[in-house]
Structure formats: structure tokens, C-alpha cells
């Protein structure tokens, strides 16, 4: 037992690092004084190290801690993604006026970001119902606090309250679903659930109900309709850095867990006669139809409501809901192609969405407002930042030659390959709708005449460097996408699955 645990620990280095730095961030912060940035730097180092250790694990595929979590290429991919976005977010935080205005709370900010990252790392690797719930709880708890972190109590109370109540309800529903699933199969381990389902004796209706309830938990994490109500308010109320983090990393972790849950629990590992990479559901349980409906609702509602938004953070919140809908399409198709498409989309989404949020943050730093009207004439006052924003938006809309197009291309490819034509058409039409609201911002930046004598807005060199660091991949991966596709193809492998 001890050897087993020690061996597990050696494969658990990224998470251990995060835990150690979590404690370190608190201690260092206390020693360094209230307004010191030390905790932020500790968090930055901790996450960078953890990400580095996660990269070192590339290729290994093993279940650790008596099968509670696994280390496999799929988990490693998401750890890399989450780690990278956490690093970017911390860099944002160093330049965020909102975060710097509450310097006396840097300790909590840094340490909770570490805790949240840890929770998401665990979500990426959980293969047990118990671990699944625990990891989600750890992530949620940290994000509740971070979301309501800067504003004074009365301001953010609605957002925080909505977040917590929705979080509690969906977690409760999920727990109920988990307990029913446990009752049906007698197992908490994903692989054992799969085995129990493979015997074919599980009541299909009960299974469906349990799955719907568990989907509620996932849906909350990835903000899929109808579990999305918290998203706009929280995204608007939270500091931009946290909003960006929630929209990328939290969503990625939710998707990672959801895809692993569905694939390891419900896929017939021994199905015969299927083309390579196609899956078959156990017991003919067509949960993917459920996700297809969810996907259509999510992207359509997200896009339609985004059209009416005038606050950029709210607009990006609805756009991120829509993007969750696009990514769900990849899960629907029941194939490795679909899974790979989701992974590709996430890499792309990381750059373009963080980039868009970063520009919003920079502009809010200068003007104190996220309203769409503040963007009027920005194109003439700060051409570089505005051009970057245009590229990020064009990429989000999925127009070549940007990386966003590649993401959409592979999603549609997976759908058409599996003959989900109607869903592909719905997705394609949705991207046309989405163009409208992205272009509204572009219009304000370039087409609306600037106040003639407005001063140019100048940004400091490091800020511009961060923008470029996000901008260049967004264009480059649109033209030469071999690396991201190869990475995604190598990362769909899950431990214990064919």
C-alpha cells in the first residue's frame, strides 16, 4: 500500500506543487506584508512549475491513488491548457487596475487562484464519482470567492449570490444523480460503472434520469443552457481577470471531466465492426442526443442574447456560452474525431478569448468602463490594440485566416463525417449570427467617428507584449495548424480506453 502511494505521489507532482505553493502563497504573503505582490509572484511560479511538471508527464498513462485519478495524455493536455491560462491570467492581474486597487487582498487572490487551478487539475484527471464531486467543489468554492472579490459587498452581492445558489443547486442535483448512478451500478469508479453497464441489466430510464442530473452539474461548469443563468451576472460582476479565467480554464476543466465521464462510463470499449475512432454507446443509451439538444439551445441562445448586449463583459459572457455550445457539438458525434476537434477548439479558444478579455481589461483600465460606447473611435486612438481586438473577434467568429476558423473547421468536419448534417448547419448559421455582435464592437472602434481631438491611448511595452503573445498564435495557427492538430490527436488517449 505504502509503495503504491509513494509511486502515485511521483506521478502527482504537478498537483503536489500546487498544494505546496498554495500554502506558500499564504505564508509568504503574511510575511511580506499586506500590500505586497509577493503572493502573486509565488502563485505565478507555482503554476508555471506545475505546468512544467505536467508537461514532463506527457505520454504516461496510469491510474494513481487506487484509481481515484489518472495521469494520461488527455488529462495532461487539459492541465497544460489550464496551467497556461492561469499563467496568462496572473500576468493580466499584474496589470489589472481592478486587482491592483485591492492590493491588501493579494494573499487571498494568489492563494485562491492556486486552489482553483488545483481543483481544475483534479477535474482533468478524476475517474471516480467521489473525486469528481470533490474536484468540482474545490474549483467552485474558490471561484465563488474570487468572483465577488473586488467589488464592495452591495455591488457584487447579486452576482455572488446567483453564482452560489446556482452552484449549490446544480451540485446538489449532480450529487443526487451520482447517488442514483451508484445505486444502479454499485460502483463509484468510472471503469466499474462501465463494466456494470456492459452487463446490460441496468434500468435505462433510471440511468437517463441520473445522467440528466449529472449533466446539470457539468452544464453549470461549462455554462450550457439552461444552467447558464449565473454566467452573465458573474462575468460582469467579477474582475476581468477572473472572468477570463472562468471563461477559459473553468470551462476547459468542465469539458474535460464531462468528456471523460461520458467516454469512460458509457462507451462500449469492445464494440465491433466500427470504423476506427468511432464509439458505440453501451445499452444503446443515446445520451449524445441529449447533448445535441443542449448544444443547439446553448449556442443559439448565447448568440441571440449576445446581440443585445452593450457591456463588453456581458457580450463576451454570452459569446462564451455560445462557444460552449459549439464545443458540445464535438462531444455529440461519439468519435475520437469529435473529441480531437474539441481539444483543437480549446487551444484556439485559449488564445482568442483571453486576448479579447485582455483588450477589454486594458481599455477598462484606461477608461474605467466596459461599455460598447467607450470603444468608439478607439481604432484611431490606439490602432495596435484595436487591430488586435479585430483579429480576436474575427477569430471568435471563425473567419479565416485566423485560428478560430481552424477550430470551427475541425468541429464541422467531425460532425459531417458522422453525418450530423443538421447540427452542422445549425452551428454554421450560428456563426453568422455571432459575426453580427462581434462586428458591432469593430464598428464602434473603426466606423464610428472618433471625437476629433481625443488623445491617443498609449499602452506600456509589457502590456503590448502580452497582446502580441496572444495575437501571433491566433493568426499563426490559422495558417499553420499542424502543431495544434497533432497535439490534439495525441491527447485524445484516455487511460483504460481503447
Amino acid at each position: 500500500m505504502i509503495e503504491q502511494i509513494l509511486h502515485s505521489l511521483s506521478l502527482f507532482l504537478p498537483e503536489t506543487t500546487l498544494t505546496v505553493f498554495f500554502c506558500a502563497a499564504i505564508i509568504v504573503g503574511l510575511v511580506a506584508g499586506r500590500t505586497s505582490r509577493a503572493s502573486l509572484y509565488v502563485a505565478l511560479i507555482g503554476i508555471a512549475l506545475a505546468t512544467w511538471f505536467a508537461i514532463q508527464q506527457a505520454g504516461s498513462s496510469e491510474g494513481i491513488f487506487t484509481g481515484m485519478v489518472v495521469v494520461d495524455p488527455f488529462a495532461t493536455f487539459f492541465k497544460l491548457l489550464i496551467g497556461m491560462s492561469a499563467i496568462v491570467i496572473l500576468l493580466f492581474s499584474l496589470y489589472s487596475a481592478e486587482v491592483q486597487s485591492t492590493a491588501h487582498r493579494h494573499i487571498e487572490y494568489g492563494s485562491l487562484l492556486l486552489a482553483m487551478t488545483l481543483g481544475m487539475f483534479l477535474m482533468a484527471g478524476s475517474t471516480n464519482l467521489l473525486m469528481m464531486v470533490l474536484a468540482i467543489e474545490l474549483t467552485s468554492l474558490s471561484s465563488y470567492v474570487l468572483a465577488g472579490y473586488t467589488r464592495e459587498a452591495t455591488d457584487s452581492s447579486e452576482a455572488s449570490l446567483k453564482y452560489i445558489i446556482y452552484g449549490a443547486v446544480s451540485t446538489g442535483l449532480m450529487l443526487y444523480g451520482v447517488s442514483i448512478l451508484f445505486g444502479l451500478t454499485g460502483a463509484t469508479d468510472f471503469y466499474n460503472i462501465n463494466r456494470a453497464l456492459a452487463t446490460g441489466s441496468v434500468n435505462a430510464t433510471a440511468l437517463l434520469v441520473a445522467t440528466i442530473m449529472i449533466v446539470a452539474g457539468f452544464g453549470y461548469k461549462i455554462s450550457a443552457v439552461p444552467f447558464h443563468f449565473w454566467t452573465p451576472d458573474v462575468y460582469e460582476g467579477a474582475p476581468v481577470t477572473i472572468t477570463a479565467f472562468l471563461s477559459v480554464a473553468s470551462k476547459a476543466a468542465g469539458f474535460a471531466l464531462m468528456m471523460r465521464f461520458f467516454k469512460t462510463c458509457f462507451i462500449d470499449a469492445n464494440a465491433l465492426g466500427l470504423p476506427a475512432g468511432m464509439w458505440a454507446s453501451l445499452q444503446g443509451f443515446e445520451w449524445n442526443k441529449l447533448l445535441a439538444i443542449l448544444s443547439v439551445l446553448t449556442m443559439t441562445l448565447g448568440n441571440l442574447v449576445a446581440v443585445w448586449q452593450n457591456n463588453l463583459k456581458r457580450l463576451l459572457a454570452y459569446s462564451s456560452i455560445a462557444h460552449a455550445g459549439y464545443m458540445l457539438m464535438g462531444v455529440v458525434v461519439l468519435s475520437d474525431k469529435g473529441l480531437a476537434a474539441v481539444l483543437i477548439y480549446f487551444i484556439v479558444y485559449l488564445f482568442m478569448n483571453l486576448g479579447a478579455f485582455y483588450v477589454v481589461m486594458l481599455v477598462a483600465n484606461k477608461t474605467g468602463s466596459e461599455d460598447i460606447d467607450t470603444y468608439k473611435g478607439l481604432g484611431y486612438r490606439s490602432p495596435l490594440i484595436s487591430v488586435a481586438m479585430v483579429v480576436f473577434f474575427i477569430s471568435l467568429a471563425g473567419i479565416p485566416p485566423t485560428a478560430g476558423f481552424i477550430g470551427k473547421l475541425f468541429l464541422f468536419a467531425a460532425l459531417l463525417d458522422a453525418k450530423w448534417i443538421w447540427l452542422a448547419v445549425v452551428g454554421a448559421l450560428n456563426s453568422v449570427i455571432s459575426l453580427y455582435y462581434y462586428v458591432r464592437v469593430v464598428r464602434n472602434m473603426f466606423l464610428r467617428d472618433p471625437e476629433r481631438n481625443a488623445e491617443p491611448v498609449v499602452f506600456s511595452a509589457p502590456q503590448v507584449v502580452i497582446v502580441l503573445a496572444l495575437l501571433i498564435p491566433t493568426i499563426l495557427f490559422g495558417l499553420f495548424y499542424s502543431p495544434i492538430v497533432e497535439l490534439a490527436n495525441a491527447s485524445v488517449v484516455m487511460f483504460g480506453m481503447k
Binding site: F22, L112, A135, L138, N203
Partner: protein, 170 residues
């Protein structure tokens, strides 16, 4: 119908009843007291499942410590002027209510009218499941990892509580 079943239905009825009462009471103190009753029933149900240790812990920790703390806090803060968050019955509420009822009926249908082959536990082993020894063994071997993660969860919760508390101080 054996004794266990009778106990289960009895406790279950009180359990559901007290939960309903708790949600519907306007006075927070009375609601908290109903919640304590609810916890006691839950502990009783644990006992019928041979989970003695958990039953005791349930009473000690939840019904004893946490709820008493709750009641004190409520009394000290004197939250009599509770404000209603919203009153009107909106479309959303009707839909939500409808969905909840649908879910309830579905569950009833499944568990009452459909035969389900639920996996049964070995009766002889089940006596031991609830003992301190058995729980301890599981907690520190197979479930060591979730156990440790829980501690990190609690640490994060403490930090979060500090943030909320500090906000008042600022």
C-alpha cells in the same frame, strides 16, 4: 414487512415532513429546529443501514455542533426582518415547478413501478460496514486521496471565509 422496513418508512415520513416544514417556515429559528429534527431522522436511517458510526457523527457534528451554532447565530443577529427576494410567480417559476413535478413523477415511476435490479450488498459483510474500524480502514487506504483533497478543500474554504470576513473589516 419486517421491522427495518417499518422503521424506514416511519423515519422517511418524518424526514420528508420536517424538510418541508423547514423550507416553508418564515421564522428562521423554527426552521433551524426543523432542520435538526431532519438530521436526527437521517441519522436514524443511517442506523437502519448498519452505518452506526456515520449515524453518531451525523448527530454529533451536524445536529449537535453546526446546528447549535446556527441557532445561536440566528438568535444573536436577530434576523426577524427577513426580506423577500421576490414575490411574483413568474413564467420561469411555473416552468421550474412543472419540471420539478415531472422529475418527481419520473423518479416515482422508476422506483415504484419498474423492476430494477439494484446490486445488493452481502448481508454478512454489511454488518461490519458501519463500524469505526471498517470506515477508518477504507478512509486511509482506498479513499486516502479524496480524504486528503477534502482537507485542501477546507483550507480553500477558510481562505474564502477570511476574504468575506475581511470585507466587513475594510
Amino acid at each position: 414487512m419486517n421491522v427495518e422496513t417499518i422503521f424506514f418508512y416511519l423515519l422517511g415520513a418524518v424526514f420528508v415532513g420536517s424538510a418541508l416544514m423547514m423550507v416553508t417556515r418564515r421564522n428562521p429559528v423554527i426552521a433551524a429546529l426543523y432542520l435538526i429534527l431532519n438530521f436526527f431522522c437521517l441519522a436514524g436511517i443511517y442506523l437502519t443501514l448498519h452505518a452506526q458510526f456515520i449515524a453518531v457523527i451525523q448527530i454529533l457534528v451536524y445536529a449537535g455542533a453546526i446546528m447549535v451554532l446556527f441557532v445561536f447565530v440566528i438568535m444573536l443577529l436577530n434576523l426577524s426582518d427577513e426580506r423577500r427576494l421576490s414575490e411574483a410567480i413568474s413564467f420561469k417559476k411555473i416552468v421550474a415547478g412543472g419540471l420539478s413535478v415531472a422529475l418527481l413523477l419520473e423518479l416515482l415511476y422508476i422506483f415504484v413501478y419498474r423492476k430494477t435490479d439494484l446490486p445488493t450488498l452481502n448481508a454478512e459483510r454489511s454488518i461490519e460496514i458501519g463500524t469505526v474500524e471498517s470506515i477508518g480502514r477504507h478512509l486511509f487506504t482506498k479513499f486516502l486521496f479524496p480524504f486528503e483533497v477534502t482537507s485542501i478543500l477546507l483550507l480553500a474554504a477558510i481562505v474564502g471565509a477570511v476574504v468575506l470576513a475581511k470585507r466587513r473589516l475594510d
